[in-house]
């Protein structure tokens, strides 16, 4: 396909489309090989590590304050939507096991305009998500300071912003200069996090069902089981599920992609859904809505204290710090990969994907991730950041489902996935409906910002890369 003209962007750069042979162990191009080094555990760690971050530690207070125990249903809805998208994403990823993930599938399946919109909004969506994680980190760090007895002068809000911004700068610098195995560290953090959460959930469930009694106040949250409130909370907390598709962004580096990609994506969605639903169930049974509202972003700390005393609070604080850090770090990495994906296809200038030979890291792309993150993190708008991030991801998720339907309806010769979603177009159709439908339940301001981003990216396409043709360019 190298002979076919794929057009060029306004600067005259052409998409870098090279014919490759994919094996279980490497991607082989004409002159080079790209080793696949990630196993199933590594893939699960990326999925779980990105997802189980800020969401579970920040949202119980906010979501429980809205609808009480009904928030368990909101988290379950989020999990179902994620699963409906994870299945089609898995099929596409095994058919196109390349770095770039959702952007790649959509640009190949639906063409350059949809590809540009998704590619650029994925970048910005990840920027919003990272900022959200960093603000969560700031709140937990503030609690940690208070717990060890350090009184901070000035306004607490300001401290949160400062911590979030400093952490944003720190992670960006770390990713540019760090050549040690970040992935191994990530695996360790995820394992530690999972075991801490499992212990917390185990004890919490025993207490909720009255097997042990930690003297939590009687009386549950006044629950609001209405469909609309549940769905609008689901739209808010869906940020907790952003991350499973990030597994697809490292598809090119996954060993045995036909087996490991679906397992890692679907497995991580199932694992975190169970964790979330249980956590929120415990949280809303320990505290009522008023108490959850008062505790706010770090309500989980108070729940830990209620259940297990000061050690419980400390466990949650440490868990919250680890989780928000791992989410933020994983997202900055994904952002740089998203930028690389679009730059390779000449939708962004080529220099955006440059690597420095000293560290071997993509410093420009990491800067384009970290820079806007820092600005957004300073705003401290937890709910707004989360919803805009979800909005931009949901657009991509919906379009992934549409891309699958489109590709299947007129199956090209090269399309040969190892994993096929059963049931014909039913699951992808539901996935698309659910993804776009969830957007309708968001706050007006979030939708407005999201739509503005979409129009801006579409405008960029017509200005910069209107002549580039990517449909079916493998």
């Amino acid at each position: 396909m190298t002979t076919e003209d794929r057009g060029s962007n306004i600067a005259g750069e052409k998409p870098d489309v090279e014919e490759t042979v994919e094996t279980d162990e490497a991607t082989v191009t004409e002159t080079a090989e790209l080793e696949r080094t990630l196993g199933l555990v590594g893939g699960l760690a990326i999925g779980i590590g990105t997802m189980i971050g800020a969401g579970i530690f920040v949202f119980p207070g906010l979501a429980g304050a809205e609808v009480g125990t009904a928030a368990t249903a909101s988290f379950a809805v989020g999990g179902v939507v994620a699963l409906l998208v994870a299945l089609p994403t898995s099929e596409l990823a095994t058919a196109m096991p390349k770095s770039g993930g959702g952007y790649y599938f959509i640009s190949r399946g639906l063409g350059t305009l949809a590809g540009t919109i998704v590619g650029l909004s994925l970048w910005l969506g990840l920027v919003f998500a990272t900022a959200f994680y960093l603000v969560g980190l700031g709140f937990y760090a503030l609690d940690a300071l208070a717990e060890v007895g350090i009184q901070v002068g000035g306004s607490p809000e300001l401290i949160v912003s400062v911590i979030a911004v400093l952490a944003g700068i720190g992670f960006t610098v770390l990713n540019v200069t760090g050549t040690e195995n970040a992935a191994k560290l990530q695996n360790g953090i995820v394992a530690l996090l999972l075991s801490m959460l499992a212990a917390f959930l185990g004890f919490g469930l025993l207490e909720v069902f009255g097997v042990v009694d930690a003297d939590t106040p009687a009386g549950e949250a006044q629950d609001d089981w209405g469909l609309v409130p549940i769905m609008s909370v689901a739209a808010l907390v869906f940020t907790s599920y952003l991350g499973f598709a990030q597994v697809a962004t490292v598809a090119g580096e996954m060993k045995q992609p036909g087996r490991n990609l679906p397992l890692a994506m679907i497995g991580s969605v199932l694992i975190v859904t169970v964790m979330y639903v249980l956590t929120i169930y415990i949280a809303t049974n320990v505290f009522d809505r008023a108490a959850l509202e008062a505790a706010g972003e770090t309500a989980m700390v108070e729940i830990g204290r209620e259940l297990l005393g000061t050690p419980g609070a400390l466990v949650i604080i440490v868990g919250g710090l680890l989780a928000t850090m791992s989410s933020a770090n994983a997202s900055i990495l994904s952002t740089s990969r998203a930028i690389y994906g679009v730059s390779k296809d000449a939708l962004l200038p080529e220099w955006a994907a440059r690597i420095n030979l000293k560290y071997g890291t993509p410093h420009v792309a990491l800067g384009m991730a970290g820079g806007p993150v820092i600005v957004l993190a300073a705003t401290r708008q937890v709910a707004l950041l989360a919803e805009v991030a979800s909005f931009l991801h949901l657009i991509m998720y919906g379009l992934i489902c549409v891309a699958l339907i489109a590709i299947r309806r007129d199956e090209p010769e090269w399309y040969d996935p190892d994993f096929r979603v059963p049931g014909g177009p039913v699951i992808p159709a539901l996935g698309a409906l659910a993804s776009f439908g969830l957007i309708a339940f968001m706050e007006t301001l979030s939708i407005a910002i999201g739509v503005a981003v979409i129009f801006a990216t579409a405008g960029w396409y017509f200005y910069y890369a209107g002549d580039v043709n990517l449909k079916g360019a493998l």
């Binding site: 970040a182 490292v250 560290y359 993509p362």
Partner: protein, 228 residues
């Protein structure tokens, strides 16, 4: 014909010394140009940027092996894991050994280590093939509690092939005494060791020997690993 893999960190400017090129003139060589990337960089991204530069350097290197008289080709790999790439390419090219480059001039004498759980017959056969009918001497070396006669057996085989052979048994720490014995030799040939606690903590034995001995180290791959 026997093939030896020569992994080279091609974009870090690693070169192959003239002595090693000459030593390997009797066997087929695959030069493996590799570039290790941190986790945050997709290998494909590095390929797009560095492929041409790396291929140019690999062509030059392969040319050196051709000039020395051997048959040589090359592969280029972008990876997160050097070890995994070396193992995979060695399997795919059916290489009997891989070389760790090091500085050396003309090779007059090789130190061959038979310490530990290695297939001495396999190593001996490899040494015989590499040296061929050239005037290169061999010191067979092993360290351990008691001499089980493995050196004598190997020495007989090599002497029969017309190679000037000496033996050296040392009852000391295998690693330190091997390094002590390196003086007056221009390179080391050793067997591949099974992973151990020490290799997990300090890195692979062959890499440590190479670091301590300065000269090139050729590691004969164990036959069992070939099957896997």
């Amino acid at each position: 014909m026997t093939r030896v893999l020569v992994p080279v960190a091609i974009l870090k400017g690693e070169m192959v010394s003239a002595g090693l090129v000459d030593l390997l003139a009797t066997v087929d060589v695959t030069v493996l140009g590799y570039h290790v990337l941190p986790e945050q960089t997709p290998p494909d991204q590095a390929r797009a940027q560095f492929e041409d530069r790396a291929t140019g350097a690999l062509d030059d290197l392969t040319g050196q092996f051709h000039e020395a008289g051997g048959d040589a080709d090359h592969r280029l790999v972008f990876t997160h894991d050097r070890r995994q790439s070396i193992d995979r390419i060695a399997d795919e090219t059916d290489s009997a050994a891989y070389a760790i480059t090091g500085a050396t001039g003309e090779v007059d004498r090789l130190l061959v280590s038979l310490t530990g759980e290695v297939d001495t017959a396999q190593i001996t056969a490899f040494v015989e093939e590499v040296i061929g009918d050239r005037d290169i001497g061999v010191t067979l070396f092993a360290a351990g509690e008691k001499d089980d006669g493995r050196l004598e057996t190997a020495a007989e085989t090599l002497s029969a092939a017309g190679i000037d052979t000496a033996t050296k048994w040392v009852a000391g720490n295998p690693f330190d005494s091997l390094i002590d014995a390196v003086a007056d030799h221009d390179g080391i040939i050793m067997g591949e060791q099974a992973p151990s606690l020490a290799s997990l903590l300090f890195g692979e034995e062959a890499d440590r020997v190479a670091a301590a001995s300065v000269g090139p180290v050729i590691v004969v791959r164990s036959a069992e690993k070939d099957k896997a």
